[in-house]
């Protein structure tokens, strides 16, 4: 028996190897739980969970290895957090990936709420700069995955959903990390994300699922690169507060077939204005103190009306003018962005219109001329009417900014 599949095997090859093993061979491997096995795409999710949990439990006894122990504690807390503290209403959680020493000790892990192999809908949430296992993203109390899961189930009771909190790439350490101005880590992360997302299709049981990949902030650039450059396959994409879509210059570059690139960008979220690399974003970048380095923007703003995306409402209650705070309210319980995502990840994107959640894209200023002039004594003189975008100018008119806010902000 081969203890491991060939090095570099893809998810299909891993799956074929796993299925070629005898039952007792599989059972022995699960009992021995070699760490590599729990992270292999092509191994069923339920078994990955068993293996990864066993490895994590081993690490929780290894206080002599500080980084390993610290990240094991973080992941354990992440599992407890997503499962919930109400014993009468526990969410079903699986440890889908676990590598505590990845990325120079920042760690890599993915927690699924709901078994992705048996779910009808799968949502993968990709975080942005400053997120890591070590920094506590899995249990830090922002509740992204929990809120998407709970609100989707409230919107569509009985839907069979899996939401994966994917902490599977090395992110810039924060907005003060110079690497946040470069798409390099997004492109590297995009390779890993594409492998993991494509692996979901291989082990899925029954009819093909509906898969949505959601990226917030720098994570939206990572998601874009996974689709544009690394062959990720999914039905829909959600881009939240995006500083730019790097290698994807329009929705077509995501290669979604009949799927949709959905965009949530609050008009008051300054990071979402950094895309496009035009004059506005660079001026804004200077005013804000260069949060993305001297060269603002990581590509095209997907909220622009020429991108080919579907923009949903994502304003922050009480928001008034640009504020860094408004970069971080897309998963608020009761917010229109979270409500929109509940429709999208369950495959009901068409319901956004009925639920009054569609927003107009940001647009470029136009040059418009009158179609006639009236000259005294000569009467009206017809002119050729010109209405065109000003070339080279980014889309900076945001209709969403005009919408009245209803309540005080948090």
């Amino acid at each position: 028996m081969q203890p491991e599949p060939p090095p570099g095997a893809n998810a299909d090859e891993v799956n074929a190897w796993w299925n070629s093993l005898m039952r007792d061979e599989r059972d022995r491997l699960i009992a021995e739980h070699p760490p590599v096995l729990g992270n292999l795409n092509g191994i069923p999710a339920e078994l990955r969970d068993q293996i990864n949990t066993a490895v994590m439990n081993d690490d929780l006894t290894r206080a002599d290895d500080a980084a390993r122990y610290r990240n094991a504690v973080q992941v354990k807390q992440g599992l407890d957090h997503d499962r919930g503290s109400d014993p009468g209403n526990q969410r079903p959680v699986l440890l889908w990936a676990y590598d505590p020493l990845a990325f120079n000790g920042k760690g890599s892990a993915a927690i699924a709420i709901g078994d992705p192999d048996h779910a009808q809908d799968i949502a993968v949430i990709v975080p942005g700069a400053g997120s890591s296992v070590a920094s506590g993203w899995l249990a830090g109390g922002h509740n992204d995955a929990i809120n998407v899961y709970d609100q989707s189930m409230a919107a569509y009771p009985g839907d069979d959903l899996s939401v994966i909190a994917w902490m599977g790439y090395d992110t810039p350490d924060g907005f003060d990390d110079p690497r946040v101005a470069s798409p390099l880590m997004a492109r590297q992360g995009g390779v890993r994300l594409a492998q993991d997302v494509n692996g979901l299709w291989v082990t899925h049981d029954g009819s093909p699922p509906h898969v949505t990949v959601l990226g917030h902030s720098y994570g939206s650039s990572t998601v874009a690169d996974a689709f544009a450059a690394s062959g990720a396959t999914a039905n829909d994409v959600v881009s939240l507060g995006s500083p730019g879509t790097d290698l994807a210059h329009s929705a077509k570059d995501f290669h979604l077939d009949s799927g949709t690139v959905y965009v949530g960008s609050a008009s008051s979220d300054p990071i979402s204005w950094l895309g496009e690399g035009g004059g506005v974003s660079n001026e804004l970048n200077e005013i804000l103190g260069y949060p993305f380095g001297r060269y603002a923007g990581l590509g095209t703003d997907p909220a622009g009306d020429g991108f080919g995306s579907v923009r949903f409402k994502a304003e922050v209650p009480g928001g008034d003018g640009l504020s860094f705070r408004d970069h971080s309210h897309y998963f608020d319980l009761g917010g229109e962005a979270l409500r929109s995502m509940a429709h999208i990840v369950t495959g009901h994107g068409a319901a956004l219109a009925q639920d009054d959640l569609l927003a107009q894209g940001r647009r470029q200023p136009h040059i418009t001329t009158p179609s006639e002039v009236k000259i005294p004594g000569l009467g009206p003189i017809h002119l050729p009417h010109i209405d065109t975008r000003i070339p080279g100018v980014p889309a900076y008119i945001d209709p969403e900014a005009e919408r009245p806010r209803e309540v005080e902000r948090d």
Binding site: S85, D86, R91, W137, G141, A154, H329, L333, G334, D410
Partner: protein, 145 residues
């Protein structure tokens, strides 16, 4: 700026509201937990207190019918029907000046209902590394006399 809430007061705000629901709506087989929830996607302060609790759906009733009955009972106690202005959660919502409650079905169990009780974003303690965002069971506090 609004006065911050200490950890104890932020917790009491939602626990007392949850207890009021349990008593007023006469909920049975109640269980629940408490956690601090960040009010932003960065997991940073401010935080709100949050109680996630569940209860048995009354025998012979459709879950949604029971949830409506709970909401009606709370409105009779002076609570306001629906979510606060500008909020649009899925589920049945009621609120006061300080808490929003979202009622719906429990995960994968139609015989139980759930209620998420969210308080005000006025707790400025940095809970990122104290474990308080993970959650702890507080069933006894919800059901104790």
């Amino acid at each position: 700026m609004t006065e911050p809430l200490s950890d104890e007061r932020a917790m009491a705000q939602v626990v007392e509201a949850a207890r009021q629901i349990v008593r007023t709506a006469r909920l049975n087989d109640v269980t629940g937990g408490f956690l601090f929830e960040s009010c932003n996607d960065q997991g940073a302060p401010p935080y709100r207190g949050r109680v996630d609790m569940s209860f048995a759906v009354s025998a012979g009733m459709e879950p949604e019918e029971h949830f409506k009955q709970i909401a009606t009972a709370m409105v009779r106690q002076g609570w306001t029907d629906g979510p606060p202005p500008g909020r649009r959660p899925f589920g049945l919502a009621v609120h006061t000046k300080t808490v929003m409650v979202v009622i719906g079905r429990a995960c994968g169990d139609n015989s139980r209902g759930s209620a998420q009780v969210c308080g005000e974003c006025r707790n400025l303690t940095d809970h990122r590394h104290d474990g308080m965002t993970v959650g702890n069971e507080i069933t006894d506090r919800l059901t104790g006399r």
